[in-house]
Symmetry: C2
Subunit: 504 residues, 2 copies
């Protein structure tokens, strides 16, 4: 335990897994290096022979009729679950050629998904080939790829970032682009393609799967749920990878400035977190750190829509009798807001009778000191949870491809509150079952709906039950830096725990 | 090693060290809680009987004549070193009343200095009392304090922030303020006072020590070197506490955005670090992470002063012959700078012939994306190094007080590159020996000179020897989050290691 003055951190070269020299010359810190050989546990079903069991036919998240029309070959596919079996499903001489692509913004754990796919095929479908498309979906269209080998992927095990094959934001949308993807699939004789991405990328993966079916190509497509925002999830996909790590990085910083505030007693810090439409990151950080005030966008939206109704149809009396029309929670939020914001919410409306959210100066008033950016959180070293979760997602994708599945999203159900990795359940969920349609340019477009913070969900309810106390007492918690070894190393984020508890 | 879904992190109450209930109700995260009982190693000299050995008479960092006039009672004091002894220096029935104060901005490890003082007295001068002055030096003047007990300090062991007794930026400067401090010293019957602070606070500590001597009060004053900026150090005070932790927090963030940049290949990140005049934090972070470009203020200053000479006395020819007058290093820096900045450095001068530094748009041009603030780094959980270093500083302060010393700064020489804590050397250095004078309002004022980055020092030379390679190759290193357990937990910052190596 003695902090000796041992030479600091730089490990000159990553150890290659085989005698061959590693092709990637990256210099690692001591912590990065210690992560490379971090042993990853696997769900036990993946350690012995298994078979795939299909569930009942699936529907869609909304407008199943339209989804069925958009995905005639895929709509209604059952979920698939891996269960232990007497004999392995491997066929003699089966070999697969699999492509993998990272799509969109980086999220901690992406490398482990690729390692999981690679290791699965190495173990179960010997002689298979994995191609990494470079720079995102553009790499598929331009057929720009690298053949992944044991040595090539070794330095990226349990590492953050997407630098193994890099990512990109291109979409495969137009008929010409689909044609390019087909040409690549044919040229490389691809049996399968794994698309690691967010909601849009997984929608795209499903369209590709459908298109390959239409064109009678053998290429199967499997998606993987990635986004630090946490807005790609549903009952069968409990969380997206990267969320756990990113929230812990942000929560560490928030905890630090809380200690700062408590030490000086002179000021409050205001922290703005990223997360686009959904506020999962903010909610999770609040649950980890207990700030005095937390503003959850979804709750404000709910209040605003109630106010819109009232302002359109009722008299707003000075005495405040009108407030009785607000739902209890919305009333509480309204009373909680500073008067200036209350007034703005009440007075200004656009020509359609809506509150002009853009004019609300809340953020202007509150943002001070600390804006945490995506960049600080999206490229950290993945936590033990994200490392294991991603590795299992990769294994699951491999198993789904081996068994001939397409149009599914790799799914790992991490189970009840106390389930160790060994007990996790593994399988795939029909991508069409996550979909709804949106009307764009006069056409129905399939979309995977972003999961917003549910005001009736367990994480928000927990927050709502505690925030009054947090507001008046300083109940700050400082989570500290992410630990990879020791007592706190295997803690999982509150959001997931609470959602699992609620589902249990 | 399996990341089980164990319940996440909140430990409801800090375990009190004795059956009495802790007086401080703070809710801790799992990591914070795991730190409380982290066993701290001690220099072996502090584990058995020791005596104090004085070195030769000291002088001052500059203008010893003036310093001697300002500190007639203290000037010339020798350094004190603890060495093993046959018998303990404890006198029968000796009991001490000691005050402690945190002064100025927070730095990780401050709590451990206080714990070190407390534990030293508990062990060696039984029956002693420790008063914690609240809210900084203002607490001394207002006699606002809390009596520290085992239970009171327990929850703050190895924790970040200064919230045990809080800090403040008041200075004890005017005759009335000195009078107030005297009154408190008399009222509490103080044998000693430990001032934990930066350069200004330690100067103040020395003035207090001198004043107490003049007034024939028994109260001794000992300083402790605190600042995350790293600019309070000299040969006998190898580093200020907090620097190690803060740099590692910043370096983690920088490493993350480097991985981000490598993953996208689309852009560079620009990071602005804090550190007031001295660039130790920036240099240390550069050594930890290897960015493409690092701008060290001290080097730019050196270039500017050479340019001033040239512009004042020489012809600046188009062909660039004038550049031969620049020192080699300055020329390299000049050539390294973008043309727009070169031009500004050459063309604009103020009425005194100096380059108008304030007009240089370097920062405006470079600052984008990420500004790391003091707040993110100054309140983190102290690293193992800062935890142990501070604890030893506290013990040393206790030993110096017990042996009747005043006007010294607690000093822990962490020794050669590989010295474990057990081998650290402990003692005190005359505060007057760190001092020079500055002329303010027609009077000489004593100041501890801020230690700037030395362009001839080992850390800068190491950086200079590597930056050309870093500029053209991407040699990024991502240090990852601070670890408290495991292989990287006891690494020490490059600056200290290199300086120790250079001194060895």
């Amino acid at each position: 335990m003695s902090p000796t003055l041992a030479a600091n951190g730089d490990i000159a070269a990553a150890k290659p897994a085989s005698p061959a020299t590693s092709r990637v010359a990256v210099v690692y810190s001591e912590v990065q290096n210690s992560r490379i050989d971090h042993p990853l546990p696997l769900p036990s079903v993946l350690r012995s022979p298994f078979k795939i069991v299909d569930g009942p036919a699936s529907s869609a998240a909304g407008n199943p009729g339209e989804i069925a029309k958009l995905f005639p070959n895929l709509f209604g596919q059952p979920s698939a679950m891996l269960v232990p079996s007497e004999s392995d499903m491997a066929q003699p001489d089966q070999k697969l050629k699999i492509g993998v692509v990272l799509s969109g913004g980086q999220a901690p754990g992406g490398h482990n998904v690729i390692c999981g796919i690679f290791d699965y095929l190495q173990e179960r479908v010997k002689g298979s080939t994995v191609y990494g498309f470079k720079g995102g979906p553009g790499g598929i269209m331009k057929c720009k790829y690298v053949e992944l080998t044991t040595d090539y992927i070794y330095p990226f095990r349990n590492q953050g970032g997407f630098d193994m094959i890099c990512s990109g934001r291109d979409k495969i949308e137009t008929p010409e682009q689909f044609k390019q993807a087909e040409e690549t699939a044919v040229k490389l004789d691809l049996d399968g393609l794994v698309v690691i991405g967010g909601d849009d990328s997984n929608t795209n993966a499903c369209l590709l799967a459908e298109n390959f079916r239409v064109k009678k190509l053998k290429t199967q497509v499997i998606g993987c749920p990635k986004t630090i925002d946490g807005d790609l999830k549903c009952k069968e996909v409990p969380t997206s990878f990267g969320f756990d790590t990113a929230c812990k990085i942000y929560a560490e910083m928030i905890g630090n400035v809380m200690v700062d505030a408590r030490s000086t007693g002179k000021y409050y810090h205001f922290v703005r977190l990223m997360g686009r439409a959904a506020s999962h990151i903010t909610l999770e950080c609040a649950l980890q750190t207990h700030p005095n005030i937390t503003i959850i966008g979804e709750e404000v939206q709910q209040l605003i829509s109630e106010l819109n109704e009232i302002l359109a149809h009722d008299v707003v009396d000075e005495g405040g009798v009108w407030k009785k029309k607000l739902a209890n929670q919305s009333l509480q939020l309204f009373e909680f807001l500073p008067e200036a914001i209350q007034e703005q919410l009440m007075l200004e409306r656009d020509p359609h009778g809506n509150v002009q959210v853009a004019k609300i100066e809340t953020e202007k008033m509150l943002i001070k000191w600390l804006k945490l950016s995506w960049y600080e959180g999206r490229c950290g070293l993945p936590t033990n949870f994200d490392s294991s979760y991603c590795y299992a997602l990769g294994f699951a994708a491999g198993a789904l491809l081996q068994s001939g599945k397409t149009g599914l999203i790799s799914s790992v159900w991490v189970g009840n509150l106390a389930a160790p990795v060994e007990e996790w359940t593994v399988g795939g969920t029909a991508l069409t079952s996550l979909m709804d349609v949106e009307r764009r340019h006069g056409k129905y477009k399939p979309v995977i709906k972003k999961a917003m913070v549910e005001l009736e969900g367990a994480p928000f309810k927990k927050f709502a039950s505690m925030r009054d106390e947090w507001a008046v007492k300083n109940c700050y918690i400082s989570p500290g830096p992410i630990q990879f070894v020791g007592p706190a190393a295997n803690a999982v984020n509150h959001t997931l725990l609470l959602e699992l508890g609620a589902h249990a």
